[in-house]
Symmetry: C2
Subunit: 546 residues, 2 copies
Amino acid sequence: MTSQTDNGIYARDLDRSGANYHPLTPLTYLERSASVYPEKTAVIHGHARFTYAQFYKRCRRLASALSRRGIGRGDTVSVMASNVPALLEAHYGVPMVGAVLNALNYRLDAGNIAFILGHAQTKLLITDREFSDTIAAALARMDEPPVVIDIDDPIFEGGKLLGEKDYEALLLEGSSDDPHQGPSDEWQAISLCYTSGTTGNPKGVVYHHRGAHLNAIGQILAFGLNQRSVYLWTLPMFHCNGWTYTWAVTAAAGTHVCLRHVDPAVVFPMIKEHGVTHMCGAPIVLNMLVHAPAEQQVSFQHTVEVATGGAAPPSKIISAMEDLGFRVTHLYGLTESYGPAALCAWQSDWNDLDVEARTAMMARQGVAYHTLQELMVADGQSMQPVPSDGSTMGELMLCGNTVMKGYLKNPGATDEAFRGGWFHTGDLAVRHPDGYVEIKDRAKDVIISGGENVSSLEVEELLYKHPAIMEAAVVARPDDYWGETVCAFVTLKPDAQEIDSVEIITWCREKIAGFKIPRTIVFGPLPKTSTGKIQKYVLRKTATEL
Amino acid sequence: MTSQTDNGIYARDLDRSGANYHPLTPLTYLERSASVYPEKTAVIHGHARFTYAQFYKRCRRLASALSRRGIGRGDTVSVMASNVPALLEAHYGVPMVGAVLNALNYRLDAGNIAFILGHAQTKLLITDREFSDTIAAALARMDEPPVVIDIDDPIFEGGKLLGEKDYEALLLEGSSDDPHQGPSDEWQAISLCYTSGTTGNPKGVVYHHRGAHLNAIGQILAFGLNQRSVYLWTLPMFHCNGWTYTWAVTAAAGTHVCLRHVDPAVVFPMIKEHGVTHMCGAPIVLNMLVHAPAEQQVSFQHTVEVATGGAAPPSKIISAMEDLGFRVTHLYGLTESYGPAALCAWQSDWNDLDVEARTAMMARQGVAYHTLQELMVADGQSMQPVPSDGSTMGELMLCGNTVMKGYLKNPGATDEAFRGGWFHTGDLAVRHPDGYVEIKDRAKDVIISGGENVSSLEVEELLYKHPAIMEAAVVARPDDYWGETVCAFVTLKPDAQEIDSVEIITWCREKIAGFKIPRTIVFGPLPKTSTGKIQKYVLRKTATEL
């Protein structure tokens, strides 16, 4: 960032100073919104409302309280909470003192939580009563447990208080007048998110202030947020810091509407009551809304923008959501890319397509965000990009300022993930002639049957079109003759008539190549990870043991 | 930007790499738009249309041609042109080779141009036939003139070709397939804009890639640009690189509509024909549109967003523009802040104000952009902020990543401008209780009459409300008794009845304090700088000699 290598006249006497250089950080977004819109509602939680001035003061109090307890640069503060104001405030108060926010996945078990608190060297843990059983068990496993502060939210009944005081009392230890500073270096760590990982210990993904600042801008541009936006927190804030919407909604000076649990019976009325304009969630959230009983589906007059990611939304779900008054945007990203880093950007000529063709377009992962440098589909070894022919598979790779600093205390995994100067996503994709990327499978999810590659996603997409099927997951089943065969696990819709395997297999014929048709179909609920992803490794094990 | 000062676990093994760090630059915006929207119209000029794919190719050809001529990092390329595609392309092709774009103010005289070309050490000059007289005279003054390339635009008749070949032939020297790279350092210079300065030699303001990238984002957020935006180039591109809209419109993947001359007879039909959604200009541009003959004011169905700056728009002009179908946003900035860096952000409760109160709110300079770190009104010496009382005057100061690198080859002026770690704008302002900043005067424009400070802006704002006055400028006139008195220069509307000084002075009474009422009123056209600013130093001289 110095101009020392500049040639000639532009190299002299044009250096950084306080006037013309400041580290990028999302903390400035809160300062700005509190200054420009002090009386605007920043946060809604149940009957509570905080204006931007109040929200900012509470974050400064938190920072002050942490600082007075000796927490500062490079220390970790963990939070175990659903989408409540305390967790949102931690996204500002913790980094204001240079500390690193570790939002814990509340679906993890005590063993995982204990591992994370130890690995992150957490100094202070803020935890909600709702998760006291897990946390108590996790703390019991630790030799040197952190200081514990409780969130004692009147909205939630049950659970126990575990810590030395509650969060509101912690805030009273601090003063909103204490000075606070931004990071001295934009590369400084701001947060730590553990990947849920289907096997082994989770890895700690480290974000920096620069990336958090930029990715929030990326979300604003992708999702069209502004000061009239009302954002409903259907996405867990622990998930990549709420895909950085924790910072983006504040930057736009929109309103955060907190939500402890995603329940259609609550979501639909909240959309109407608060005039929600934007929300996010994995396809399972869309699925829940679409399949909610009709009496829960309170109608609303405006269009609600819904961003979804984590898996491609099945076209049936997209069109059902549209019928309910939502407009779906498909985003793509991973924990390592601060959440969404690519989007299926709308092209005006898609307006003329029929619903089937249009939703097929929208199910693609698309193109890079403004704030991602580049995405590439390439051979994982040679790093040669595949042709944009819509059929040659390669690994999807990303590079740019919104790719993580690396994995905490795991240089081997970081080097492996960054080999060749790109982040290797592990997703297998094609690039279409229009430049849009489409993921065909996770590298480990490809089924090789009789020497032919079968994309489990392609078979799943077909199964989702069956009128009786609500969820579907496809894995390989070992087979002595074919090597592997296609094995489908399906959940039927609550109101669906009972059907059998033969009926589904027959239905698949003429819709898909013969070698892609499931040989085995298993009915029942699907096992899911704590972030709502289907646990294919469990299904693979089941398929092997069938 | 290194993590060497980080404490503890976050300091280790989390360094920059090609995967997670890239210098910020606006060049990526063009790459992205060309990749995502290749067939979308990027540039309209007369009957010519360039898609984003074509626009990008032309910029790459330019870069390649410059590179093959040995132009590279730290070299200056100057362009003397109105708002034509070649100048827009230079905003990409020049920095693609690491060179610095110097867009010349075409209203300057040969002496100034010769000074700038010499001071900037311009290696190559691209110049439009329209300005061949000035350029020929400027080149004749130089001992070592640069290589000269002509823009031979069929839309413009007249002028002479001066150079070795025309711009289209220069492009043919290059190839759009030549590799190009972004800057190796985001602090690297991208452009050089000379301030018009009312006296003395102009100063060369240097921008960097980081600031250009960020300020373009700032414009998108301030002005709500997106891929449906159609931007009419009523603002000169030489003016702070078109307030960085040269990069912002491309980032949003909007359409640039080029325009050689601002003429209401052309502007209104273009708004209708191209569905223009956004445009910018100094208040004089708004004035021209408002006072255009009714038969030129072709009506249009949609609302056109107009951003204005350089001086506060008089409230009469704001409401007249609204009547014509425009929505006015007031921006504030200087060459040193990449153009606009503050805006009068709309507050929802202004919707209920009457037109007078509302336009008074809108005439304020407002609040910092997302991309400016901070603005402050403070005592220029002690650097103590003034109270937010709407009356205590101080100097408006800015700091952040969108403040210039500094003045080229002028460390003394840079240090003076940046003293105390803030950029000193030289504008005298108050801060209102709502945090909004309002400029009361340029430091040197304050009139001190009988020991009382008179804001020339306040008197001008009043005069603009007189039904017969089209333009007004107020300066000090030396006076033996009072020290100074208020002297007004006014231009009447074309259709106004003739009026005299007494009538105006009488009209001012009871509207303003007695010591603020002009003692002298001079009728006639106002002298303007090349950027359309009223030349107060000329008026001051006239007032002194009256």
